[in-house]
Symmetry: C2
Subunit: 336 residues, 2 copies
């Protein structure tokens, strides 16, 4: 007979894999009766638990993983500092893995965790993650997981987010209040749930103001910085060009400035600009940039604290946790 | 008898630890005679090689580690992209560890590698690393190591650097040519060899121009951003304040702008500024920033390629490799 897995136990007992997994972790969601059945069969079949089913592990790695798309973004570099502050207090190491927006790499990285390399995972997903099953599998196998910033709506896991809809709505309202009649919304990864919320916030404010929405003003950019600048140049060369821009990710900010400079379009006189960014340099840009500033450090810290609660307390149902920490609008010269 | 270590073998044979280590790795530097002696005793004592003595390891981790002080610096975030490009081609994973300038953390991280977690190490050291022995021990135990950017002069290991002396000399010359009579040099970690080279380049240009050097214009800043801004405010409030600034690390750039803005000192009319940075935002700062732009991506790529050569070829003496890739001076409005 082959080595018994959690799937074999589940099939044998006619239970869901997740139920067996929770029973093995002594979860409060599972009845004592079911737990007894699972443990009895596990003993009979000499089931060896997967090394990252935390409560059963003998030796913890004392390491958590942070899986993110990139580090060249001030949100992530600040969030990592928040995560590390908590990990240091707990005496844990932090491993940072970059996916570069590749679902394949992300899947490989999570597969590696099966060897018990880490005790928990903080993840901000790639633009394609939500079509995969690797995160659900990791959770079902007992790995504590917390999403931060970018997450999959359909996966039942803890999440620490900011108020993407609300802050985008407020940013768009501000542009309209200052006089913009044709604000445009720029994004990079249209499928991400955080982008969908930001876009919805933009649309709500535009509709509320009675401005006709136009697909020509909702632009998804792609590629390296110079390609993005080209796409923005095309937008700004239109005869009916926008008079306001919401740059929904930091990466879009320099290309907007570059394109405006090249075309001699003055910010804020001819086009108002607001960017979602935690750039330290925002106040010293020319002109200084109004921003939606995300609580990056707090998000990192809170997500890590939640993860450790999940690692330490098996009776705590991590997957139900959902925390939202609001962003702040910081007004500077680009929206005068 | 206790478990034999490489040190026991060395003592027993009257050889240096590094000689035994190299003999076990079949290094070309060691005579066949010595290798035979070492291998014979190793067999007699049932010596179990440390899991990261690469040529002896049965199962490679196919993972390399990047150990750096922080990610909130565009040099490191770009260098990581260069490293990951090479690692991806080789089918390796990259783990990123942050030391936050703590020698203790760096030592802990390297200790963790003793379990064979990684096949090689790319490291940019903390400001206190060179007083420690952890890197030398890792190298002696057979871990392939390449320094990039920040390194220890006294440790015999491969290094990939930029021309810190030369680029700082050129940057200072430029300020003097543009009319500065009192250029100041700002740093953060005075003990780092890269800083010493940059400071020496500054001093050479100042001396060459017959400008009296003053310790009051060589400033080492410390602490978080607001503390650094305060230190720069003190410098700029002096009656005999500098008329030019070399900001030798990126972290110093925003505080210099903030301090000048607060005091109403115009850049470049009243003070010229040049910064060592790879910030994408340099051209859109107010005024745009002249920079010493380091070949961050190339340094990362080259260091990783060298490391893989060291991992793959045991006959290759990695420790002798030293590569220097020049930085570029990019002139913008802050030095007009």
């Amino acid at each position: 007979m082959s080595k018994p897995t959690i799937k074999v136990l589940a099939k044998e007992l006619g239970l869901a894999v997740s139920t067996v997994s929770k029973a093995l972790r002594d979860s409060h969601e599972i009845s004592q009766d079911t737990k007894d059945k699972v443990l009895k069969l596990a003993a009979q079949l000499n089931y060896i638990p997967n090394p990252y089913a935390s409560s059963l592990r003998r030796q913890k790695s004392r390491t958590i993983a942070v899986v993110i798309p990139e580090v060249a973004d001030s949100f992530f570099s600040i969030a990592i500092n928040g995560i590390e502050e908590v990990a240091r207090e707990k005496g844990y190491h932090v491993l940072i893995y970059l996916t570069h927006e590749s679902l394949e790499r992300e899947t490989e990285i999570l597969n590696e965790f099966k060897s018990g390399r880490v005790d928990g995972l903080l993840i901000s997903v790639t633009r394609d993650t939500c079509s995969g099953t690797h995160i659900t599998e990791a959770i079902e196998a007992g790995l504590p997981v917390v999403f931060f910033d970018r997450m999959c709506e359909d996966i039942k896991a803890a999440r620490v987010l900011t108020d993407d809809y609300e802050s985008s709505y407020q940013a768009t309202r501000l542009l309209i209040e200052r006089g913009c009649k044709k604000p445009a919304y720029l994004s990079i990864s249209p499928n991400l749930s955080i982008n969908q919320k930001r876009e919805a916030g933009y649309l709500a404010a535009v509709n509320e103001a009675g401005i006709e929405t136009s697909q020509a003003r909702i632009i998804s950019c792609d590629g390296p910085d110079d390609k993005i600048t080209e796409q923005i140049l095309i937008l700004l060369r239109q005869p009916n060009r926008p008079d306001g821009i919401i740059a929904s990710v930091e990466k879009l900010v320099p290309p907007v400035y570059f394109a405006c400079k090249e075309l001699g379009i003055n910010i804020p006189e001819e086009i108002r600009l607001i960017g979602f960014t935690n750039l330290t340099a925002s106040p010293i840009l020319n002109p200084s940039l109004s921003t939606v500033t995300q609580p990056a450090f707090e998000i990192g810290k809170t997500a890590a604290a939640l993860l450790f609660k999940g690692i330490e307390k098996t009776s705590f149902d991590l997957s139900r946790e959902k925390l939202i920490i609001p962003s702040q609008l910081q007004l500077r010269d680009s929206t005068l």
